[in-house]
Amino acid sequence: MDTTAVVSLKGISKAFPGVVADRDINLDVTHEIHAIVGENGAGKSTLMRILSGLLRPDSGEIWLRGSRVTITSPGHAAALGIGMVHQHFMLIGRFSVMENVILGLEPSHHGVLDASAAKARVLALCRQYGMALDPDAKIRDLPVGLQQRVEILKVLYRGAQVLILDEPTAVLAPQEVADLFQNLRALKEAGKTIIFISHKLDEVLEIADRISVLRRGQMIGTVLAQDATREEIARMMVGRPVLFSLDKPPATPGDALLELKDLSVLGGLGNLACDRVSLSVRAGEIYGVAGVEGNGQTELVEAVTGIRKPRSGSIMLLGKQVAGQNPAAIRHLGLAHIPEDRQRRGLVLELSVLENFILGKHRSSNYVARHVTNTREARTQASRAIRDFDVRVASLDLTGGSLSGGNQQKLILSRELETGPKVIIAAQPMRGLDVGASEFVRSVLLKARQDGCAVLLVSADLEELMALSDRIGVMFRGRLVAELDRDLATVDRIGQYMVGTTAEAAR
């Protein structure tokens, strides 16, 4: 490995009113794949936004290949050879790959777009870096993995020598992650320097040469990936040891509390989003639903929780037919729902923590006295529950939107679980949470399992599913294409079902 620094950050500090996002950060990135990890709010994004010209540091220096630079804008960063691949793609769905890549820097001849030259350049780039892409394909027809490839291509087209990737694997299936990593290695071979931001430790250990850890705005240290262990990095991130191999006693499943039979659900566009799905979840077990997002999991959860009316099939909850009933009736039977999008479906961000806590049970006799909300009782219950669930909030009167992601999720958990539900539907419950908060969510779900709950866990994160589930079903294009006992499941096998390569064999 070449040890001369390509990018050096020296004493970078950046404060926002009231918080210091980054404090005296020193970082040397050589010609390598350099991972930057840290919990949410550790200062990774701020640091990268400084490097890509979106923010100016309060103090400190940026050095690029031995000379000091002051980066004034993203355009300036691009001119200096620094390119950022954002987590949320910035592509135009109706445009072709080629059009998206050249947008903003179109080769032209007397003011007319030189399409053939553009195409040739895009093709040359694809060949150069070994990225298979059809320049004429429309973005909206491409799977997520290929869209990301287009994003990378865009950055390369602008002549980037240093590529910053912000949580690039968050949206990818395992096979797509493997492809991405292959591309990244090829880019490194071709002389590019890659900065890779993530909080998935296994991936970081696999792809990175070196790993730098940030915690609360400070650089904790940089380690060589080949010498590091997951536990060590997690400890650096959190500041204390983190439990990975959960203390998970064997399942003692009881009766089936939730049974789906031939459940078909239409999606928002009238498409068949769930196609004759049958599964059952027993008391005291966690049933994991794996799958790349958009393969019907959302609609499945919405049907079970009553938000979306199923087209056909049956949903038996605690022995009662609930297909087509409304969410209130289904909840009332003892179903808790941890929605996949906590800001859209989980909380009303404008309402207070207290109001969010009682929402849904605000008409129960506990909380209503003479037609008026019994605020004192609500406060007592809410205070107790948020203490039990470790929601850190200064006052019950702050808005839900003022909480951090982890605290929002804990607030939802406290609301949903304090009533002692029999069945829990948890959709992507750890998404976007940092190590500490996801550890908490995991332990809560496992405790519910011990208490005899039936838990349906939907997740796109295989690690998470493997760690928690007793059985795993895989959804692909609306169908449950496989169901595996945890002991027989491997990431590889599930991954193949997820992308449909063995879908035929399974049926």
Binding site: G18, N326, P327, R331, P339, R344, V348, E355, L359
Partner: protein, 378 residues
């Protein structure tokens, strides 16, 4: 927590700043008309606030604006834009008038409340079509209620023709025709506050003039503002209305049917809207004619916006609007500045307040977020 007090203070300062800003723009307009802004504003203030008849008149004119704002604000809470207050109070006023002139032999204690109930019912009936169209078909209430407003005006004109006051229609010897309903019976009329206020004011040497019809709908409207606020913040349905207004998806997930809540909020808004015309109808005119005051519905939207749906805010805003109009009357007579200046002031003020409050909201949210984060890190 010490910040929350500063924030609350800032929340009060924001609309005041907008008012000052509007005043500055207004100065430019007045100066362009060739008058001295300072002199005009001085006249407006003196004319409105140092004459007791002006103050009483301002309070009288406040009443329909405040009720209208309350109606609009209930809709706003559920993220519904009830532009139909206008039509709803026209129909409501007709229903009240009808009950007022047609039911004979009732004691006042029954007749007047009955007329008010009829007004609310009229408002609800008029809102039923847009509300159902919204809830069942997703038709936007702004479009449908505007249509219903036009229908309401014409409908009331037709109803006046149907119930035309035959006895009063022709004035003997003059042959003039008054297009109006029969007079509301005394038992359905709301008394003015003179008999209560004048003995209290006498020691101060003040008197509510006989030509000012300040009546008990004014204190009722103030009470209604607080009552609705209590309902919105302290009852289960109030919570549902706010939850659906902010985030229908999350409400639905928690087992609340957003459409049913929207329907209830819409009809509640319309019921209050039905009351808007009563202060004029049951105290001042005593009949409904083709010139019954229009525009309270639209001004109510401005008052609700300016007062940010808050009871005290809306009371002050309604007062401000009435003050501006009364002041403009004074400025027109005494300074020769056209009444339209007040309309310009109103418009600029609403624009400024909308901009200022969105800036403030963003700032307050960021502030709260930081505080919560700081706490979580401890």
């Amino acid at each position: 927590m010490r910040h929350s007090r500063a924030l609350r203070l800032l929340g009060i300062v924001t609309p005041l700043a907008a008012i000052v800003f509007a005043g500055l723009i207004g100065s430019v307009v007045i100066a362009m008309a060739g008058k001295s802004p300072l002199a005009v504003y001085k006249t407006m203030v003196l004319f409105s606030l140092t004459r007791f008849d002006s103050i009483a008149l301002i309070l009288f004119r406040c009443t329909p604006l405040l009720i209208s704002a309350i109606a609009v604000s209930i809709g706003f809470r559920a993220n519904l834009f009830n532009i139909g207050v206008e039509g709803q109070y026209f129909i409501g006023s007709f229903c009240a008038a009808w009950v007022g002139f047609s039911l004979r032999g009732l004691p006042a204690i029954i007749h007047l409340p009955l007329a008010a109930c009829a007004a609310m019912l009229g408002g609800v009936i008029w809102a039923l079509v847009p509300a159902l169209l919204r809830v069942r078909r997703g038709a936007h209430e702004v479009i449908t209620t505007i249509m219903m407003n036009s229908v309401a005006f014409s409908m009331v004109h037709w109803l006046i023709y149907v119930f035309l006051d035959v006895e009063q229609t022709t004035v003997p010897g003059m042959g003039s025709v008054r297009m109006r309903t029969p007079l509301v019976l005394a038992t359905a009329k709301m008394p003015t506050m003179h008999s209560l206020l004048n003995p209290l004011l006498a020691p101060l040497g003040l008197e509510v003039p006989r030509h000012v019809y300040l009546n008990y709908f004014f204190p009722a409207a103030i009470a209604l503002a607080f009552l609705v606020n209590y309902f919105i913040h302290r009852t289960p349905l109030g919570l549902e209305i706010r939850a659906v207004g902010h985030n229908p998806d999350a409400a639905e997930t928690q087992g609340i049917d957003p459409n049913s809540v929207r329907l209830k909020a819409f009809l509640l808004s319309a019921a209050v809207a039905g009351l808007v015309g009563l202060s004029d109808l049951l105290t001042y005119f005593g009949y409904l004619d083709i010139d019954f005051p229009k525009g309270y519905g639209f001004t109510g939207i401005a008052v609700a916006l300016l007062g940010k749906n808050n009871p005290v805010g809306m009371i002050l805003s309604a007062f401000l609007m009435s003050f501006l109009r009364r002041g403009a009357e004074g400025a027109q007579v005494l300074e020769g500045v056209p009444m339209d200046t007040a309309a310009i002031l109103e418009g600029v003020m609403i624009l400024a307040i909308v901009v200022a409050s969105s800036v403030f909201t963003r700032y307050a949210r960021a502030w709260q977020k930081r505080e919560a984060r700081a706490h979580a890190d401890q």
